[in-house]
């Protein structure tokens, strides 16, 4: 199986099959990441679409300094935040950080966890996703988000505390 780096090199040469393979590897991950930031399925779809098209058009810009996954997720993040800026100019995006986690007993566990995640601020939720779903190191997250490593650690520390309380 071709490595991510091999695929991106082939995509840079215009290889459509390589792009299809790259799409199959990353589009759903991009979508889930966008959902974490936006919490709106249709907007996350738009981010996934625009991100993968940007990958096709800009593959030759990949310099190999980071993992391909980090590079693609970075593009997705830029797309998601520019969409937020566009949306907030026209309508209000619901602030899901204000949604209180529902501790009602009997609720399905996954639903309870999803609500607890929604109860986190967008910044905290993003670090939790990149660590526990994408398995990125705090250094990679720091470079990707453009924030100090100490901020990444403290966001995770507080998110963990909040999740621990909500899921106790």
């Amino acid at each position: 199986m071709a490595s991510d780096r091999d695929l991106i090199a082939d995509v840079a040469k215009g290889n459509e099959e390589a792009f299809r393979q790259l799409y199959d590897r990353f589009a759903d991950r991009v979508f889930r990441y966008a959902c974490t930031i936006l919490h709106e399925g249709h907007l996350a779809e738009e981010v996934a679409q625009e991100t993968m098209i940007a990958v096709w058009k800009g593959a030759e810009k990949y310099a190999g300094r980071s993992k391909v996954s980090t590079w693609i997720l970075g593009i997705a993040r830029n797309q998601a935040y520019s969409l937020i800026r566009k949306e907030t100019r026209t309508e209000t995006v619901p602030d899901l950080s204000l949604v209180e986690p529902d501790p009602a007993p009997g609720i399905h566990r996954q639903e309870q966890v999803s609500k607890a995640l929604q109860g986190l601020s967008k910044d905290h939720r993003e670090v939790v996703f990149l660590t526990f779903y994408e398995g990125l190191s705090y250094g990679e997250i720091s470079s990707m988000l453009g924030i100090p490593t100490g901020t990444v650690k403290s966001r995770m520390f507080h998110a963990k505390q909040q999740l621990g309380e909500a899921l106790a």
């Binding site: 792009f19 589009a27 991009v30 679409q49 058009k57 939790v128 526990f132 398995g135 705090y138």
Partner: protein, 126 residues
């Protein structure tokens, strides 16, 4: 910052196995002697499992998007002529993309396509 706080900040990445060797050794040595941080390790592992479970159970990206993305990326196919067999063949195609009409030729060897030419330079329509 006391040592427990420093270690508990590192625990999520310790679980992921993405710490430096030195940090990993520091965490392991501290955990060996600190019950409070071992409890934090267990709690963090449970949270990680819950989070992964919840995120994985959310709906996936719809399949229909794949065609939309490839069509937007590659352009709409207008014509395609394939000559030859699975072992050796040649194809000539034309697409419509953003008002341009790129034409490309591919050589296929054992099912693998090799681009011979493309009248549109990739990235030229950015």
């Amino acid at each position: 910052m006391n040592e427990c706080t420093r270690i508990q900040e590192l625990i999520p990445w310790y679980i992921e196995g993405v710490l430096s060797e030195q940090e990993e050794r520091d965490v392991a040595e501290h955990l060996y002697q600190c019950e409070q941080c071992r409890d934090d390790l267990v709690l963090t592992m449970r949270i990680r499992l819950d989070v992964r479970g919840a995120l994985s159970s959310e709906p996936s990206l719809p399949d229909r998007l794949r065609d939309r993305v490839t069509q937007k990326a590659f352009g709409r196919r207008l014509a395609q002529v394939d000559v030859g067999s699975f072992f050796l063949g040649f194809s000539l195609g034309a697409r419509l993309r953003k008002g341009a009409l790129p034409v490309h030729g591919d050589l296929s060897v054992m099912g693998r396509r090799i681009r011979l030419f493309n009248t549109e330079r990739k990235g030229g329509t950015k």
